[in-house]
């Protein structure tokens, strides 16, 4: 079997191998309770990766996701008191709004997405620093439990975050497979000039992809702040690299057009297993980003479609 045919199956094969390795090294790993906790813990990262998938699927990238999540933890913490449950809507609006801004800069001003999202990410960081006064803020515990307590509760052994993740994944999968939006995003990723020549307003859909990415990063930030019961301008730092790794390891290449949200679900599980295995194997916390950096390089090198790249700069 040649490599090209094997390629689409690499993500889940990798996942199985990793699970097998960690499972044999540590016999508590495969216990259902442990696995459920493990997955529950990774949900904010998964949701961020889910959003990123849209940006990467069209051949772009969203480097603002982490800063966006930071900003949202601050926004959620500050406005929970005055807005109650409506703060969730505000969070998603801010995320989608900043995503739209990135999309607009990318499509109308022709600034490559890695720069435009880096720039909007900068705006998000400044905003969060300004809003928080550069301090770590805490939510009112009673109010948090009343409004968002359900998010982090459990039904039996199953953390509720998993349900949120499942619902969002289902919606994203529906959008990707069944809607015109999903179809256009695929066409843009696989062959934008042809999409344009088919009379499609490509820019509008690209902006939407960045808006979705921003909105989902916001939801990730919201759940994260509920979990930690507070917010700070750097609280979600360390999310971006694993989130990008999750998308790429899952099999959506930087060149876009193939893969998708289901791949990202598998990719996130790979990230979760790698992360836990590092605890089991006593790898220091400071070394984790290094491991993810290495995995990212390998994942890109393996998945990228070299036919679409003439030169790399």
């Amino acid at each position: 079997m040649d490599f090209q045919r094997l390629k689409p199956h690499l993500p889940w094969i990798t996942l199985l191998i990793l699970v097998a390795i960690v499972g044999t090294a540590d016999d508590t790993f495969l216990k259902p309770a442990n696995l459920l906790n493990l997955m529950g813990d990774i949900v904010p990262l998964f949701i961020m990766a889910l959003g990123l998938t849209f940006a990467i699927y069209i051949g772009g990238i969203d480097l603002s996701a982490q800063s966006m999540a930071n900003l949202i933890t601050v926004v959620a913490t500050i406005y929970l008191g005055s807005l109650g449950g409506w703060v969730a809507l505000l969070c998603v609006a801010v995320g989608a709004g900043l995503g739209t801004l990135s999309g607009y800069i990318t499509t109308k001003l022709m600034v490559p997405s890695f720069i435009s999202t880096l720039a909007t990410g900068g705006i998000a960081i400044s905003l969060s620093q300004y809003l928080s006064g550069q301090r770590a803020l805490n939510m009112d515990a009673a109010q948090r439990d009343a409004v968002f307590g359900w998010m982090i509760a459990k039904t039996g052994p199953v953390p509720h975050e998993l349900f949120i993740a499942a619902v969002l994944l289902a919606i994203a999968l529906f959008v990707e497979r069944r809607t015109t939006l999903g179809r256009v995003l695929k066409a843009v990723g696989a062959g934008e000039p042809a999409a344009r020549a088919s009379g499609i307003d490509v820019a509008r859909y690209k902006i939407l992809a960045f808006a979705i990415s921003g909105g989902l990063a916001a939801i990730a930030g919201l759940i994260f702040s509920v979990k930690l019961s507070g917010g700070a301008p750097a609280i979600a730092n360390g999310f971006l690299l694993p989130a990008i790794v999750a998308v790429l390891v899952g099999g959506t290449p930087l060149t876009g057009g193939v893969g998708g949200v289901l791949n990202t679900a598998i990719g996130t599980m790979i990230v979760a297993v790698i992360r836990t295995s590092m605890l089991y194997f006593d790898i220091e916390a400071t070394a984790q980003q290094m491991v993810f950096g290495l995995v990212l390089i390998v994942a890109i090198a393996v998945t990228i479609d070299r036919a679409k790249l003439r030169t790399v700069k």
Binding site: R178, T179, T180, L181, R183, V184, K186, A187, A190, G191, P193, A194, A195, R196, A197, S198, G199, I200, D201, G257, V258
Partner: protein
């Protein structure tokens, strides 16, 4: 002197070269013709060292050779003048000529530019090109760049012992008639220095220049004719295995168009660049062909009609409505379809399957509130796969894996299934084999029978004359002449060329 003996080359699923025998004598010009897919490119790649044959031998002066890569072949005196020019646009002419061979001019790690310019001037003199070697390549005309490319290959003369063999791949495809004449004159003079292998689609040119012609079909050399031994028709016959005549363009199916129904109109349109005063009318059932040389403004007119360019002045009217905002989206909504020249770039999306490609321009028709009705979409694709006999394993086959002809059929089906009745066809038969071309011609007649208006930029003049009801000759951004091409009263090639150049 240079000889291929029983050369074989196989790729997964394709037997690209079948025991090919090929020979080039000293100072000889050898033509190589064949339809697309006949194996010409593979043969050329074997000759200049990009492919290694699976069987047979490459002999030079009777000695068996094996080239690991093009550079190894170059060191034995085999050079290639590429069709897609291989010069780097932002380097100077001399840097391009000596790209990869600068070492000879290096003193103490620094290039002696004066020496390089001197040497480059000498090379340029061989091709009679009097330009400053320090000029940036992108400032040269296309024909000049072609000559620089040739000069670059001729540096082999100083570098290698023995004879030179130079491959010319479609060197005339974008040259005008005078430039072609000059190039041919030059090549004939250069036979004192090298042998040439000349590959072209233009049969008359191959006949004009070559001492001998190899005819390829299905990966094998089917014939070798000496100068003056065969007519164009006879060679074409051997290439395709049948006679190409008037019926080829389905002229018997041409019927007069409906002059009372104007689908699209351009009035005194001026475009960025130097295209001006464009007036034309497209009627229902008409094939209107824009004829002109590369850069004459045909593409600009086509792209303006499709909304990809916005005119500076004048009006464009589609079905009685004046266009105010130019966008492909608006044009598609007005019932227009565009079959681009770059099929693989703008025509199909590789990586998406047949039904996804077919409905890309008409998603609204197959969805409710943004959600696809995939069953209906697939049924439509199956229908059109059957109607156009598209060779695809199913409607879910990846379009990127289809052959050029079938990809083109998918693009045409995309527009026809959506009910487009104004079609812009930019080189619709480019790169297709004869059978696929005939299918496209047949479709064009089918469409005009249905009252579709077609604006065509044809691949060849013969095709333009054969297919069209009306020919508009464009030169230097202005309409030179309008020809009526009713069956039996078609203009000749000469009539057209007279206004083109």
């Amino acid at each position: 002197m240079y000889q291929l003996s029983k050369v074989d080359k196989k790729f997964p699923g394709v037997h690209a070269l079948k025991a090919v025998d090929f020979e080039v004598g000293r100072g000889e010009i050898v033509g190589l013709v064949g339809e697309n897919g006949a194996g010409k490119s593979t043969l050329m790649k074997v000759i200049y060292g990009a492919y290694q044959p699976d069987g047979g031998q490459i002999l030079m002066d009777g000695k068996s050779m094996r080239f690991a890569n093009p550079r190894a072949a170059m060191e034995q005196g085999i050079g290639m003048v590429f069709q897609e020019q291989s010069l780097i646009a932002n380097l100077t002419v001399m840097e391009n000529i000596y790209l990869g061979y600068e070492q000879q001019f290096v003193r103490f790690g620094v290039i002696n530019w004066k020496a390089m310019a001197e040497a480059a001037r000498m090379q340029l003199a061989k091709v009679k090109l009097d330009i400053d070697p320090g000029r940036i390549t992108s400032t040269l005309s296309f024909a000049q760049r072609q000559l620089v490319e040739l000069a670059k290959v001729l540096t082999l003369e100083e570098r290698v012992q023995g004879d030179l063999v130079i491959l010319l791949d479609e060197p005339t495809s974008v040259l005008d008639e005078d430039e072609v004449k000059l190039l041919f004159k030059l090549v004939r003079e250069l036979t004192s220095r090298a042998s040439f292998i000349f590959v072209s689609h233009r049969m008359d040119e191959v006949m004009d220049l070559s001492d001998r012609i190899y005819v390829m079909k299905d990966g094998a050399v089917v014939d070798m004719v000496k100068r003056g031994e065969a007519s164009v028709e006879a060679i074409q016959h051997k290439m395709v295995g049948r006679v190409v005549d008037k019926r080829y363009y389905r002229e018997q199916r041409q019927v007069p168009y409906d002059a009372s129904k104007v689908l699209a109109e351009m009035k005194d349109v001026k475009l960025p660049g130097r295209v001006a005063q464009i007036d034309l009318k497209l009627h229902a059932g008409e094939v209107l062909c824009l004829v002109g040389t590369e850069g004459s403004g045909r593409e600009a007119i086509l792209r303006t009609l499709y909304g990809m360019l916005t005119p500076l002045a004048g009006t464009v009217t589609l079905k009685g409505r004046t266009v105010t905002r130019f966008s492909p989206r608006g044009s598609v909504e007005a019932g227009m379809g565009y079959v681009p020249r770059e099929r693989k770039v703008e025509g199909i999306v590789a990586g998406m399957n047949v039904h996804e490609n077919m409905t890309l321009s008409q998603m609204g028709r197959h969805s409710t509130a943004g959600v696809f009705r995939i069953g209906g979409e697939k049924a439509l694709a199956r229908d059109w796969i059957a109607r156009l006999s598209i060779k695809a394993s199913s409607e879910t086959a990846d379009c990127g894996t289809l052959s050029g002809g079938n990809q083109q059929k998918v693009v045409l089906a995309k527009w026809r299934s959506g009910g487009s009745d104004i079609l812009l066809l930019d080189h619709p038969t480019r790169g297709l084999d004869i059978g696929a071309k005939e299918d496209v011609y047949e479709m064009i007649r089918d469409m005009t029978d249905d009252g579709v208006g077609i604006i065509l930029v044809a691949d060849t003049l013969e095709e333009a004359i054969g297919l069209s009801h009306t020919i508009i000759v464009v030169k230097d951004g202005a309409i030179q002449k309008r020809f009526d091409c009713a069956t039996g009263a078609k203009p000749s090639l000469f009539d057209l060329i007279h206004y083109m150049i």
